[in-house]
């Protein structure tokens, strides 16, 4: 008799406040599992974003630092520069990372800051009630694009992984998704590689995870997974954009 799956020690027992079926929960769990499996929990300092994951500091079972909206990479930089031997990661949403925090993420990559960023792209501002994000799909209705996002007025969604991949300091950049078990497994692997990149001091690492927001997409959790697969993946191709081994 063997355990196939049990709750990771990487997470506390606190129940998530996320909406039913929100894939933030899956991503949290994967990060927790990787931290546990790599034996990093005693050594890790995580940085929580402002966004639905703002309470991440209550969930990850390691030292945690809350950051101002968008500034998690700067906060993580501050932590890492004081504690260069520790493992430092930030968890950010797409409003947090791709909008208000654009400068901070670009420059964390540019400096080759030895931190790992988990970037949860759900194409919307979840926490504040479903406003448009820079990652919102064309035609997608949000509370601030009530007629559907229109490229003429607001441009086309920004692809962060591709953008950061142009930066030399970026060691590992990969885009993954959690819409089914196969991809959940791949996501976990990517998260692991990202932390390894940090451990091996190969530069900045980021995993962009396509994620759902059933509440603000106005869909059931199951329908949301489908919408992600059908609409987001074609525009946000999954795959690796930068790999420390390729560079080395």
């Amino acid at each position: 008799m063997s355990v196939v799956f049990e709750k990771t020690k990487g997470l506390t027992d606190k129940e998530f406040h996320y909406c039913p079926g929100c894939t933030h929960g899956i991503i949290h769990r994967l990060v927790g599992e990787v931290l546990e499996e790599m034996d990093l929990l005693d050594d890790a300092i995580g940085v929580a974003p402002v966004g639905c994951a703002v309470l991440a500091y209550d969930y990850f079972n390691c030292d945690m630092h809350e950051a101002a909206h968008g500034r998690a990479p700067a906060v993580a930089t501050g932590v890492k520069r004081v504690l260069p031997e520790k493992t430092v990661f930030a968890y950010q949403g797409d409003g947090d990372l791709a909008s208000i925090g654009t400068a901070e993420i670009v420059h964390a990559a540019h400096r080759g800051e030895m931190i790992t960023v988990i970037f949860v792209n759900n194409a919307i501002y979840g926490m504040t009630g479903g406003q448009m994000a820079p990652t919102t799909m064309i035609g997608q209705k949000t509370t601030t694009s009530p007629f559907g996002r229109n490229a003429e007025q607001t441009g086309s969604p920004i692809r962060i992984a591709e953008m950061l991949a142009t930066i030399d300091g970026a060691g590992f950049i990969e885009r993954v998704s959690v819409h089914n078990p196969v991809h959940i497994r791949k996501t976990k692997k990517a998260i692991r590689t990202a932390f390894e990149c940090q451990q091996n001091r190969k530069g900045f690492s980021m995993v962009e995870v396509l994620s759902t927001c059933p509440t603000n997409w106005g869909m059931s959790p199951i329908a949301s997974l489908g919408w992600l697969a059908e609409n987001m993946i074609p525009y946000y191709p999954l795959g690796n954009f930068r790999n420390p081994d390729k560079e080395a």
Binding site: Y57, D63, M64, H65, E66, A74, G78, V79, V82
Partner: protein
């Protein structure tokens, strides 16, 4: 101890490193550029880290992270750069982290100019971040004092777990004066058990945070902060009373302005006018009690600032209607001469006499 001739900005850095500063995050802006420049040269030699951030916003958030991780950390900027740091400062205060912030201020508003100014008094003492928070704001009047305050600043910050701001102007930053580096009495400081340094498997996780979704919890945090601020008010007020004995007219001035006012006081005293000066050194907590020490001879107060009148609010609050409060100021980088102050002071005294029918 040997006297050395040093530029204010550099002397501040040397003092900071002596005071234990090991991390610096900042962004260039005139007239404080010698600070990051000095730090980029000297911090690595002291085993510390200098990092130029991509912006002031990033810099203050790096400070937030570094302070949370237990580092003795500092940033510096000038007026518009401090404006950009306001959100981060509010977070640091909310999360109760220690750090030192230097503002070598310049003329405003907006891009303004780069010459000395004291128009950031509100910015420093009333913040511009959100919520009920305070910084301990220290305003040196010369480089020796800048050095003395800075050397102690990290201890104070650690002691109260709050930011200490050193507020100077372009003159303090750019001028050279002789200084002596003294070793202040170190405060007894508790371990930073709250810092996010990794649990090491030896304790439950630490969390650095200013979020309290439950209003009752947020109120509790605020009451705790206020209680701390009360302690600061009780213990950290600093000021100088200069020639206030038998004074008829008492100027109130801080920083470099106070030096010019001191000369004006000397001139006035020579001319037989009993002038004096209250020089707040801590702008917050403001030395209200200094006003209670004034002799009965005082007939008027005058706030003298390199601004259009900001500290005057605190002077009025402290005066509690006991004396009329006048104002003299220049702005935009224009510096008053001692003669201007003498004249303004004499004019005020005449007006006061007139009003009281003498």
């Amino acid at each position: 101890m040997e006297k050395v001739l040093m530029k204010g900005n550099e002397a501040l850095c040397a003092a900071a490193i002596r005071g234990g500063c090991r991390y610096f995050f900042g962004y260039p802006i005139t007239p404080q550029n010698e600070i990051p420049e000095y730090m980029s040269r000297e911090l690595p030699k002291a085993g510390g880290v200098f990092l130029q951030a991509e912006s002031e916003v990033a810099a203050i958030n790096m400070v937030y992270g570094a302070a949370g991780a237990g580092g003795r950390v500092m940033t510096s900027s000038s007026s518009p750069g401090i404006a950009l740091k306001q959100e981060g400062i509010s977070y640091i205060c909310g999360a109760e982290l220690p750090c030192v912030i230097v503002n070598i201020s310049r003329g405003g508003p907006g891009l303004g100019g780069i010459q000395p100014s004291q128009a950031d008094y509100f910015q420093s003492t009333r913040g511009g971040g959100n919520g009920d928070y305070r910084l301990l704001v220290l305003a040196p009047a010369n480089i020796q004092e800048a050095v003395d305050l800075m050397t102690e600043a990290f201890d104070i910050a650690d002691y109260y777990r709050m930011p200490v701001m050193i507020l100077g102007d372009g003159m303090i930053g750019q001028m050279m004066e002789p200084v002596v580096f003294k070793t202040p009495a170190a405060r007894e400081l508790p371990e930073k058990e709250w810092a996010t340094t990794g649990t090491g498997g030896a304790r439950t996780p630490n969390i650095i945070n200013s979020l309290r979704l439950d209003p009752a919890e947020l109120e509790k945090l605020n009451l705790h902060l206020q209680e701390k601020y009360e302690r600061v008010r009780a213990n950290e007020v600093r000021y100088e009373m200069h020639q206030t004995d038998e004074a008829e007219l008492v100027f109130v001035a801080y920083g470099t302005s106070a030096r010019i006012v001191k000369n004006a006081v000397a001139v006035m005293r020579r001319q037989g006018v009993k002038a004096g000066l209250i020089r707040p050194i801590s702008l917050w907590p403001f030395p209200e009690r200094a006003f209670d020490e004034l002799p009965g001879s005082v007939r008027a107060l005058m706030s003298v600032e390199l601004s259009q009148g900001q500290m005057i609010d605190d002077v009025k609050i402290s005066a509690r209607g006991r004396w009329p409060v006048g104002f003299y100021g220049r702005s935009g980088g224009m510096i008053f001469t001692q003669q201007e102050i003498v004249e303004a002071g004499e004019k005020m005294l005449r007006e006061v006499s007139h009003v009281s029918g003498v």
